[in-house]
């Protein structure tokens, strides 16, 4: 029953969900941005086209993106164990989340960078800019609104995946939903966790979209 479950159960679960989502997102972006820049740069119209590097990276990214998250979660258990020292709890969900989100984010970043007008890049080249300067001061700066929209999508996706990790004892709202709601047939718990997840996703989405809109100077 509703009252039977301590309110602190939810607050802890929410805190865990935030923890998993933000730590995973942060690490995934630390990997995803350079990877996305590398994909963009080595692509056909990139700064330093290199079909070899591009095709290999692209293949790796696609492979990781096509593995269903639940399967990945189990596949990387040994890695998780090695890094985190445990395979249960909120921390243990971070390695699989990062492995699954980084390639996804890399693609998002690549496609955001592709939106930058080639003419602007050409103008920067004509002023004697180095490729590094172009990446930082033109590509990443000009695509900021698009990157933020990408972040809204990526972070909410990561949050959704983190809930899935509850299935293997990952902690957070998903864990509560499965342990209390599903295994113990407590529909109220199930409902509350789902509603909480929806609200959190909605808030995160709105915040990032708001920042993206505000930061876009083209409007």
């Amino acid at each position: 029953m509703f009252i039977a479950i301590d309110i602190s159960l939810y607050t802890t679960a929410i805190a865990e969900t935030f923890f998993m989502t933000f730590v995973s997102s942060l690490i995934s972006y630390l990997i995803g941005i350079p990877l996305g820049v590398l994909l963009y740069s080595t692509a056909k119209d990139g700064l330093t086209p290199n079909a070899g590097i591009y095709n290999v990276l692209s293949l790796i990214v696609n492979i990781f993106r096509s593995i269903p998250f639940l399967i990945l979660l189990i596949l990387v258990l040994p890695v998780t164990k090695a890094i985190v020292g445990s395979t249960i709890g909120a921390k243990a969900v971070i390695p699989p989340l990062v492995i699954s989100a980084s390639p996804y984010i890399a693609r998002m970043v690549e496609s955001s960078l592709k939106e930058v007008d080639l003419g602007v890049i050409e103008a920067a080249k004509s002023m004697g800019a180095t490729n590094f300067q172009i990446i930082i001061k033109v590509l990443l700066s000009e695509s900021k609104p698009s990157l933020l929209i990408g972040a809204a999508i990526s972070i909410t996706t990561i949050l959704g995946y983190s809930a899935m990790a509850g299935a293997v004892g990952g902690g957070g709202l998903g864990d509560v939903a499965i342990r209390y709601g599903y295994y113990r047939y407590n529909q109220d718990v199930m409902l509350i966790t789902v509603v909480l997840l929806v609200i959190i996703v909605q808030i995160l989405q709105e915040i990032f979209m708001g920042i993206a809109r505000k930061s876009d100077k083209r409007l």
Binding site: A123, S126, G128, Q133, R218
Partner: protein, 335 residues
Amino acid sequence: MAIIEIKNLKKIFNNQAVEVTALQDIDIDIEKGEIFGIIGLSGAGKSTLVRMINYLEKPSEGKVIFEGKNLGDLKENELRQVRKEIGMIFQNFNLLEQVNVIKNIMFPLEISGVEKSKAIDRARELLKLVDLSEKEKEYPSKLSGGQKQRVAIARALATNPKVLLCDEATSALDPKTTKQILDLLKKINKELGVTVVIITHQMSVIESICDRVAILENSRVAEIGNVKEVFKAPKSSIGKKLIFGATVNKEEEFVKIDDKTYLRLAFDGSITDKPILANMILKIGMPVSIMYANTKVIEGKVVGQLIIEMPNDKKVQYQIKEYLDENEVTYWEVV
């Protein structure tokens, strides 16, 4: 010595086993301090040529020599230094959309490692030059086309380049704004001594500010020379077409009535300014309507085109043609 020497330049693009020769046998010397125009129809190779002047595009053969340095011999970092001495502006302005006007102008200074306070001072100086001081904090999306091009010009001049390359810099602008931008380019040329290279498909741009012109056609230079001389007596067929037929594509401006006949008269400069039309009207004894006219007198010679409406009377029509034949005026019926 010319500031830019283009020697036997050739560019071939390889696209999926299809070879496109964009340029060949190009030899052009651009003198220090001049305004040099390059004109040609779409696809003639103008953009490719201008992009090879600062080596954004590498030639397949031949050389580009800037101030005595063969750009092909330079290392990547030396080339970047040279590019700071060659400014460039574009048809689409290519401003950074996410930063404001002053930051756009500071961009080339920033990437050259100029101290921030000095960069701001320099940017303000340039804003004054292009007459946009009050737009310092504005974002490009809030500016008109002409204002955007002014910002682009200020940005291109930030590093004190010796040359300014303009690729269709006025093609996206209306005639009035075009004139303002051309005046600004002229001022930059005169007051700062910057050599200006202008790429365009508009004859009027060449005529109004260039000292010399090269006419490109099918990847080659069809004609090159002093603007006044080329306009007076173009030698190549493309030159004749561009100069005398400069208005051919504007003929939609006159509305044709189906059952009427119209005659296009072309004056190629072989007739001195005797009153051809007035004499014709006197001869046939009947008024003739001029539907469209774009002629000018260059050194006493008439150049340009006229479209007249033919009277309905077949006999009069015959008389008109006979008169034009006698006076060696080229004409044809407009269909």
